[in-house]
Amino acid sequence: MASPALFPLEARGLGVVLGGHAALERVDFALDGRARVAVLGANGAGKSVLLRALHGLVPPTSGEVLWAGSPARPREQAMVFQRPVMLRRSALANVEYALSVNGIARARLRVRAWEAIDRVGLAHLADRPARVLSGGEQQRLALARAWSLRPRVIFLDEPTTSLDPSAAAEVERVIDEIHAAGTAIVFTTHQLGLARRVADEILFLHEGRLTEHTPVEAFFTAPRSAEAVRFLKGELPWSTASPDS
């Protein structure tokens, strides 16, 4: 592919203040776009805010997000939310809508939407109203919608948190497949098992600060920061005061 470089994806001194509260402070890292990256941390650590800032939904209060050195927000990226919003139309039409908004010609809409919906195993539900699908099916539909745009990176916010184990396994399979097809994956989670199985690298956030950026094995066997050690032991207090967004 001759498309211009997107990576490294960098956060430089990234800070976000939301409602007078510092959700992120001086976060620095660079992602090469090959590794699957899990953003870990307790509730309220700033995981979702980081993802939104990278995706371009939340403007940085300080510092910057750079794509291959440029602050311009590229189109070839997509995000799947913890609770994806589906339009009141069929599952297939939801994917077609995303494609048409992004300027895909009418003639190719249907084929590409079918392709995406088939890859996540929802072809048999394509004509169902999207909003009556189960949580796991909606999550996979959201993955299909994101994937159909052929992004080079997909951000996933807590992709399996509210799902039962079999639905979560299906979603994991789709994530693997998306990555195998050459799309970079950045996801937040507080499920250690998921991070261990799916991620290659860990970004660990504690109270809005990045305390570790390490390969997954190193993180689980020899975490460097005291906060990560306590998190892995399950000792970090799970703040309920600040919502994880």
Binding site: R75, F81, V85, R145
Partner: protein, 234 residues
């Protein structure tokens, strides 16, 4: 008491017997109300959506104006439309004063703020839920308006019905700009007002019953649609 009861009897016979005058009035009423509701919705739904979603200069002023227009006295609207359409008025050369078109215009002006205000409320609530998702997909605020209006189509249908009900039950403005001319601009409400003062209670009662039935049916339909949409679309 006996008089009233016998009036009811005659009224029912008028309805059942297919009295031509009665049904002509009913047909004209429904026709102009439908047209004015359509006109008001064609402008009011997109307007409400734009005000809900898009940031533009004068947005706040427009919200205040729309809310103020909700309490508009209908005779004042009638008077304004009368002045506009009267021979010496700016739209006098259209020559539509005392025609059904004048009624449609006046009713549409009365219904417009209702439709726009309700649409704004619905769309604004939905935008809160959809905003991040749509922005993430690359949808601009302006592009989001038709998307949201279509996604809320079943809720908005109840807005359309409310607008139609409001138009059908309007008297004051319709009397002023239509003139209640027999066979030309006489609609249910103005006929009821006239026949009651004339003492022709059976016709007034018959029209009243039909009007009430129409309004009740509309509300029942709106309720049924909401229930159905909640079950089938989530």
């Amino acid at each position: 008491m006996h008089d009233i009861l016998s009036s009811f009897g005659i009224a029912l016979r008028l309805i059942a017997g297919g009295n031509a005058e009665l049904w002509r009035i009913v047909a004209l009423s429904l026709e102009v109300s439908l047209a004015s509701a359509m006109l008001a919705c064609a402008v009011g739904l997109p307007l409400g959506g734009l005000v809900a979603v898009c940031a533009f200069p004068g947005r706040r002023a427009m919200i205040v104006a729309l809310n103020a227009l909700l309490g508009l006295p209908s005779v004042v609207v009638g008077l304004v439309v009368y002045l506009l359409l009267s021979r010496a008025g700016p739209l006098g050369n259209l020559g539509i004063l005392f025609t059904p078109k004048a009624i449609i215009l006046a009713q549409a002006l009365l219904v417009l703020p209702i439709v726009a205000a309700l649409a704004r409320q619905f769309v604004e609530d939905a935008w809160r839920e959809y905003r991040e998702q749509l922005t993430s997909l690359g949808v601009s605020a302006r592009r989001a308006v038709p998307t949201l209006l279509w996604d809320l189509r079943l809720s908005l249908l109840t807005v359309v019905l409310a607008g139609f009900g409001r138009a059908a039950s309007e008297v004051g403005a319709v009397m002023i700009v239509g003139g209640n001319i027999d066979g030309v601009t006489r609609v249910m409400t103005t006929a009821i007002a006239l026949e009651t003062t004339k003492g022709d209670l059976p016709l007034a009662l018959a029209l009243g019953m039909i009007l009430l039935t129409v309004v009740l049916a509309l509300n029942a339909a709106a309720y049924a649609i909401r229930e159905w949409s909640a079950r089938h679309h989530g």
